[in-house]
Each structure stands twice: as structure tokens, then as C-alpha cells.
Subunit: 374 residues, 2 copies
């Protein structure tokens, strides 16, 4: 269990298979985000039809509503959501550190005010493990101290060192909770955009191991894309080969290919569903606003190259109509397409990694995607 087998490589890029208690995940792979125990607007069956192999749940949100005790009493997050495949929960770190002005950080943990009802609550490394244990995902994430993308060295250093101290507490508590057979814990390396801190974070993290996977946190939080790429390139040679690498909160379509080329195996991002709700669909040639007048009366599919339910069933003109009359079916259909778009991009990258054609394909895909300047 929790084994990761690498099948092919191309430069830093890897194609692998991760074995989790609820099934296999063929990598590289995009993981849709089920913030509140639901990928916004989609049923578990909808998500299964996108061929997504693993989804996320957010500890912060599920702790507040409905509460981990409710979910545990109903048989855990899998039963609750009816998603029967692999699942990963984040630790709540990213969310509580985003609560600017509503949270107080100490060595013990983070006291924060619920955005739902204003109650004061405390999340510690131990509590984050206990909540995730109650939720019962295949992979639990360590509780980390996230800093913004522009954080100066001293601030990033503080967050990075605290993340390392908290990692020890997470590990200890997680080992007390179970025997590690139905849930594993992955650490999160931090250090902002400072190469020396990233290096120290990774060394400290690996020293606290062994781990079955590792995450890179604190990127795509405001820093320019080239900076993120530089950090990934500097980190990559020091990352262990034999475990999966998860780049948290990334990405957009191009981010997947850029990340895969830099040795990343797993991605998550809410952009697919957020864009979907706003009527923005990803296409191989960039993106399109489904509200646009150009779609009026069009009997063409949204993306003729796509095999998703939306593109194989509905004419563009109908999709536009759904946004004009504000029917929620429109939000769902574009979210479905965007998720399938990213899942399929992972599948395609994997096929090209296995065939030894990743570099050329990826370069051409990115060129075409950026050609219209969108």
C-alpha cells in the first residue's frame, strides 16, 4: 500500500502508478477539489465520468460544516460523498493562514475565527491529524505554516521552520491514531521563493521521514510564474525519485505541462470549477467565454477535440443559452468540461511520457495554447 512505481521518465518528467487503499492513481494526474465534500456543482458520478482518479477534501471547510464527527458517524468521507476512489485531504493550513485578521498564530497552532459563524477555534498539528483521521481519506497532509508568494526571507524562514517543527508533531499524532495501513501522511515543504530556504525545508522534511509522498506548498500564491518554475527547477534534483511529488494549488492547463516537465506528479486547483461557474471554458487553443455572442445559434461542440459529456452532447449555442437564462446546468456542464480537460491533459502527458515523446508534444501543445495570447 502507498507504493509508487515509476514506469517511464523523460528528463525530470515521470509517468508512474500510485497505489492507495481506494485504488490506483496513474500519474501525472490532476486532482479535482471537493472543498466541502463536493466538487462544486458535481455529483461523485459526474466526477467519475471525467475519469478523475482522486479528489481532494478541505479539512478546514469540512471541520466547520458538517464537522468531522458527523462525517465519521456516517462512515467517513467516502461514504458521505459516495466517492469510492482515492481521496486526499489538505490539513487546513492554507485556509487558516488565508484568514487574514481572523487568526492568531502561536507555536501551539492557529487560533482562528470561523468564517461561517464567527466562533473561535484552534487548529494545531495534532487536531489537523485527528480531523483528517476522522474524515478517513487515503492521504492526509501535514499541518503547515503558509506564507505569501512575496514573503521576505525572514518571514519565509519563520514559516518554514515552524512547518518543520509541526511536522514532527503531525507525524507523532498520526502514528498514535492508526497503523498507517488505511491512511498515510504526506509532508509539505515550504520556504517561499527563497532557494536556500526551500533547500533547508526539503532537507529537514526528508530527515523526518521516510514518507510515501511529498508536497510542495506555498507556490502559486502570488509570485510570478517564472519564479515558481525556478523554484521547482532548483528543488527537483534534491527531491527523492521514489515517491510522488504533489504541487499544491496548481494549476491551469499550462501549469500542468510546465510542472510535469519539472518532475511533478500530482496537481490540484479550484480554477477548473471556478472558471466553469463563470462560464469560462478551456480549449486547446486558449479559452473561451461561453457567454459570448459568437456562440449564438452555433450547433458546434464547445471543444471538438474533447470527449467529455458536455462536448459530445450539447451544441455551443445551447450552452450559451444556459448562461443567458442563468440555469445552473450551464455551470455544471462547463465545470465538467474544464475538469475533463485537465484530467485528459494528464492522461495525454502520461501517454507521451510512456512513448518517449513528451518534450516535443508538450512544447507544441503550449505553443498552440498560447498562440492567441489568452
Amino acid at each position: 500500500m502507498f507504493e509508487f512505481q515509476i514506469e517511464a521518465t523523460s528528463g525530470a518528467g515521470r509517468a508512474g502508478i500510485l497505489t492507495l487503499p481506494h485504488g490506483e492513481v496513474k500519474t501525472p494526474a490532476f486532482m479535482p477539489v471537493g472543498t466541502h465534500g463536493v466538487v462544486r456543482g458535481l455529483s461523485a458520478e459526474d466526477v467519475r465520468r471525467t475519469a478523475a482518479q482522486i479528489i481532494l477534501g478541505n479539512t478546514y471547510h469540512l471541520h466547520l460544516r458538517p464537522g468531522e464527527d458527523v462525517i465519521r458517524s456516517m462512515g467517513g468521507l467516502h461514504r458521505f460523498t459516495t466517492w469510492d476512489r482515492p481521496m486526499l485531504t489538505d490539513s487546513g493550513g492554507f485556509q487558516v493562514f488565508s484568514l487574514q485578521g481572523l487568526r492568531k498564530i502561536s507555536e501551539e497552532g492557529v487560533e482562528f475565527q470561523s468564517h461561517v459563524d464567527g466562533t473561535y477555534r484552534t487548529l494545531t498539528p495534532e487536531r489537523a491529524m485527528e480531523i483528517q483521521w476522522a474524515l478517513g481519506a487515503d492521504v492526509a497532509m501535514a499541518f503547515d505554516h503558509v506564507v505569501t508568494g512575496q514573503a521576505p526571507h525572514a518571514v519565509a524562514l519563520d514559516g518554514m521552520e515552524q512547518t518543520l517543527r509541526w511536522l514532527e508533531r503531525c507525524k507523532t499524532r498520526h502514528e498514535q491514531l492508526g497503523d498507517g495501513r488505511c491512511q498515510t501522511i504526506w509532508p509539505i515543504s515550504q520556504g517561499g521563493t527563497h532557494d536556500d530556504l526551500r533547500k533547508r525545508s526539503l532537507e529537514g522534511t526528508l530527515a523526518a521521514g521516510p514518507w510515501t509522498g511529498i508536497a510542495i506548498g506555498g507556490l502559486s500564491v502570488g509570485e510570478p510564474k517564472p519564479v515558481m518554475h525556478r523554484v521547482l527547477e532548483a528543488l527537483e534534483p534534491a527531491l527523492p525519485r521514489e515517491i510522488p511529488r504533489y504541487l499544491m494549488g496548481v494549476g491551469f492547463p499550462a501549469d500542468l505541462l510546465e510542472g510535469i516537465a519539472r518532475g511533478i506528479d500530482l496537481f490540484d486547483c479550484v480554477a477548473a470549477t471556478r472558471n466553469g461557474r463563470h462560464g469560462t471554458a478551456w480549449l486547446p487553443t486558449g479559452r473561451i467565454s461561453v457567454r459570448g455572442a459568437a456562440l449564438i445559434g452555433s450547433a458546434e461542440p464547445l471543444d471538438p477535440e474533447c470527449d467529455c459529456e458536455t462536448c459530445t452532447t450539447f451544441p455551443r449555442g445551447y450552452l450559451r443559452h444556459l448562461f443567458v437564462i442563468e440555469d445552473i446546468l450551464g455551470l455544471r456542464l462547463i465545470s465538467l468540461h474544464n475538469i475533463r480537460f485537465l484530467v485528459r491533459l494528464g492522461e495525454q502527458a502520461r501517454a507521451h511520457l510512456l512513448a518517449g515523446t513528451f518534450d516535443g508534444w508538450s512544447h507544441e501543445w503550449l505553443r498552440r495554447h498560447y498562440a492567441r495570447g489568452t
Copy 2:
């Protein structure tokens, strides 16, 4: 085509099969309403999974958005919506007469102000036929003058007589548009709650025939239920046996059984989806608010007797959670259940009509449904 075959009767109740260009409709049957070319929040595939056999489209709404020309250019309402089974469009009469203060009635037709963009438009019997012809449903409805449920005799008389005069014009225009092989037209009898007017309306309507079906309009528009039942009972002996009878804008679950017992074959109503969006689900034992705290943590199905996707897949506690976090999946799942509930009630009534057990079953069903006083 447009044949109606009666298979069994029980008192006034009938089980039959209506043959339409896009397929058969086994009656009695509930028809979900696809106001804007979409059953609110549901894809055509969602609706097919409820086993609904025929859906409605609203001429008024589709004329305004996206416009019948757009739909015709895309291949008609079936292609536009991807609903490939029987479809019926209303005439827009009910909608324009509901636009109190925004419409002016003359012998020619109704001038009204669009609720979308404020433009002035005119709907006449001829235009109503032309729009419905462009939409291309199996059944088009005649353009009628609807009065409220409390309309006094003189007002109801006016509306009823104008409906009869407009019926002739609808028939003439519809005959000019096609040969009657891909679309039929059904008249709507009016007369408010006045038995003498209902009788005269029916006589005038039938004299203008023959028809392949007939609708009863102007009920369930504010009058008490017992009044509606009395009107139906007075009308029934005078209704032709050999064509289907459609009670417009009705109903709630109990209305279906009450209507079937009084000789009605077809029903439509937006209550299933409207209630669904508000989190009210129908159960055999009444109804339930899915937002209720009683559902917290419940792993039971919403309705253990129901075979819909919602009830066979999701625990009640998850459905409640979806409404708490305001995810649109909740609206869809309860709408799906409510539609399946009505479709299945039609199927059950039909089975009992065929088995000769309708009266006893219906009586017991209504007793149980009303037992909790909801």
C-alpha cells in the same frame, strides 16, 4: 400518428398509450416543464433517467430567449435541448396573461412588454402557431385567453369566447404551416369555475375539431381544490373518450391521483423543480425540508421507497449538507427526486388501472400522504 389507445379504465380513470412523432407516452403521465428549453437545473439525460416520457417547453420564454429563429436554425427544440423524446409547447397564453400591467388585450392578440428587456411585442393566435412550428415540438397548444380562478362570470365568459374565436385562427394558421404529420395542435377549454361556461367552451371546442387531444386550462390558478375537482367532475362525461386529456399546470402529488380519478391523462407543473430548488422533497408520507436539522448525520436514503438516482445513491445527511453549504448539486438532486416521484406516481397509477386496483390503491395512497397533515 397522434393516435391514442385506451388499454383499461376504472370509473373515469384511463390507462392509455399516446403515439407521437418522437415516441410513445404511456398514460397517465406527468410531464416535467422545461421552461427555457431546460428542466431547471437538469440535463436531458438527467430527465431521461427519471423515466419522464415527454417534457414541455414554454413558447413565451423561448420566443424571448434565444428566439425561435435561433432554435430553428439549430435544428429545432429537440436538437437544441438534446431531448430526443416527445415534447409539447404551450402557446404563451398563460404567460402573457400573467404579465399584469405589462400587456394589452385586443381581438387581434396580446401586446406585451418583455420581462427580459422591456421591448414591446405582440402575440397573436397566428404568431403563437408560427413560433411553435419553428420550435418543432410534437404537440403545439392553441393560444388561449386565461382568466384567474376567482374571475366573475362576465370576465370568464369573455375569456372563454375569445379563446374559441382564437382557436379557429390557430387551426387555420397551423394547417397552413404543415400537413399535420410532425406536429399536432391541441385546443384548450376555458370557462373559469363556472359550469355553464365550461360546458359551452367544451361544446365550442369540440365543434371546431376533430382534435388529437384536448387540454383543460384555467384551473389551479387560485381557486380552491374542491372547486377544481367539481369542475373536472362536471366536465368529464362530456369529454370525448378517444383522445387524451391534459390538465394544464397541475400538479402536486395528490393532484395527480385526484385528476386521474376524474379522467385526466396528462399533467404538468413546475412545483417539482421549484420545490426541489427550495429543498422541499416529496415523500409518500407527505413532504420534508431537506434543510431540517433532523437530517444531520443521517445515513438513510431520502425516500427509502424511491428508485431515483438521489435516493439510491446519497445519504440524507449529505443532501442536507449540500443545502447548508449552498452547493447547486443539492438543488439538482432534490429536483430529480421530485420529478421521479411524480413520474413514478403516474407509472403506479397506470399499473393499478391496468390491474383494476386503482380505486383502493389511490384511496390508501392519499390517506397515507395526508396523514401527517402536510
